[in-house]
């Protein structure tokens, strides 16, 4: 194994000094080397199968050309477009994302950040932020640029790329109002994730303003996953008369809700109109296709990636807030 070819080997092969090889092989400094020697060096490097040792380079330059990306749950396809947007922007600058997953666990979050800082990533993008993670992130930000993406963080000056959840919650309520609903409710996600807190506020506020009645469900999902959506629907059903319109804080939970409704013989949208959030690829193919709020994941990712570069380049950055949009499908209907 390990027939590792070094700069030294190439240099000896060609009969020049290692530093000349280093120059010849770096696009930025190749011009400093005479055309003839350079092509001999390139040929030899190729022939010997030389691969630059990024680790060694990183030690010297102090940059690893990696960006740590912290994700909450890879099983939530909500993050996929974000990762794609991120990866595109990061690759565009010759850097590489290093992805890790917290499972929405605070301890793991902390360990992962430690790990990344130890690996000397050049920057960190947190797509998994919960309220309790603030101190850790601000700590990390003293060593390396930190960008908060997707999940907003309150009471901090860390740069953020997010989406207007308050407005998204409002859109859901508005849509139900337009359809003539009077009694509505929402099934909330974990409230220490700012997105859900804001969706809740935006929804409730618009509900009030439209003169609808909100049936308050005194429970929320511990994690924004399918099963929790199902659980909350059962809580709702035990409360008595169902609302005619229901906003579920994300699509995964909405799928769980849909499934339990189906089991229990509650028809969507005939008995209750259902709205999710995120517009996961799957939910347009659900039965009925889910009305939802589109989350601009790809853009969030791209902007976060770009923000990292701007910070690395020493440019000033401003927080970015993108717009959600309602996607009407078959899971909502007028009350008859």
């Amino acid at each position: 194994m390990n027939s590792r070819v070094t700069l030294h080997d190439v240099a000896r092969e060609v009969g020049v000094h290692p530093s000349t090889v280093s120059r010849a092989l770096d696009p930025d400094r190749a011009a400093l080397v005479k055309e003839a020697t350079r092509s001999r060096i390139e040929e030899a490097a190729d022939r010997l199968g030389y691969r630059p040792h990024m680790i060694a380079r990183g030690l010297q330059t102090g940059r690893t050309l990696t960006v740590g990306v912290v994700i909450a749950d890879l099983g939530n396809t909500f993050v996929t477009p974000i990762i794609h947007g991120l990866a595109g922007a990061i690759h565009a600058e010759g850097m590489m994302p290093v992805i890790a997953e917290t499972q929405d666990d605070h301890i793991r979050f902390s360990q992962i950040l430690d790990h990344m800082l130890g690996r000397r990533v050049d920057a960190v993008i947190s797509v998994a932020t919960r309220a309790g993670d603030r101190a850790i992130l601000e700590d990390a930000a003293r060593l390396v640029p930190v960008v908060i993406a997707a999940r907003p963080l309150a009471h901090t000056t860390l740069p953020q790329v997010t989406q207007d959840d308050r407005k998204g919650g409002g859109l859901a309520a508005e849509h139900l109002a337009d359809l003539g609903h009077r009694r509505v409710a929402q099934l909330r996600g974990p409230l220490d994730v700012e997105n859900f807190a804001r969706r809740a506020e935006g929804f409730s506020e618009t509900v009030r303003r439209a003169g609808m009645t909100e049936i308050f469900v005194d429970a929320f999902g511990e994690r924004p996953v399918i099963e929790e959506g199902g659980r909350l629907v059962r809580v709702l059903m035990e409360m008595g008369e169902l609302p005619t319109g229901l906003f579920v804080h994300n699509d995964l939970m909405a799928v769980g809700a849909l499934s339990v409704f189906h089991e229990e013989g509650v028809r969507v949208p005939e008995h209750v109109s259902l709205i999710g959030y995120n517009d996961l690829p799957m939910v347009g193919h659900a039965n009925p296709p889910l009305t939802t709020v589109r989350y601009p994941g790809w853009d969030v990712g791209r902007r976060a990636g770009e923000m990292v570069h701007r910070i690395l380049a020493g440019e000033p950055v401003e927080n970015v807030v993108l717009e959600p949009a309602l996607v009407v499908r078959g899971s909502t209907a007028s009350v008859s």
Copy 2:
């Protein structure tokens, strides 16, 4: 920023030599240091906020404690349990997975492998292997251990952790036969992914053996994604009379198929029974809930992670083939 504290700083603070600090802070060699000095070192390291520089350590030891994990599509939740199994096993040994995504693109596959080798990962696990990637992987395997997971690779001696797709395809056919179906078909995934080729074989063989008729659909998904499933159903519908039983090569494509059937007024399972593959978390909540073949993703991941350690430890390894299992839900029914 970068108030980077080095071993040197800690050493000076305590008044010992850097190598003593190095020893004191390494669990394996801490015993070599006198209890008193060690605790003084630990205290100082803590106080100064010392973090080991993994990059520098890697340069010295030749090990980066990272395992490159190559994934085809993070949007396919099929890979999530595999990643979890993998990550668990890898973390257990103090190593860290470094995840990258190929989008099932051969060029990107090659670039990613290059990148990983340049970053000197200690091993590579490929969960994205297509037939055309063999040379690249075997090349890489000369530098670093390579393990093939989930997607088998033919004609190679590289170690593999896979699942019996042939049997899985057989289970699907058998289930349809048991339900009394006579005319069946399959919608195939990309055939340069071995899994699909084997599912196809297993299905067809059992169909023949059971005396059923297979309607051959002369098209296959370019990529195993939702849209392709929908497209193939339209191809099937244009062929004339529908089969009563349909095996779709993965759940994502099955969801697309379900959706198009729904649009076209074809009822599942009344008109056609539908079977997918993988048992994604979502499909149990589809309408109707999807009958599918369970893919033991978590185990595949775990075994692959363990295999890496075994190889790194110089132990011999043998290929692992796990068993699929049929999960019967509401998308299949007896022909009446």
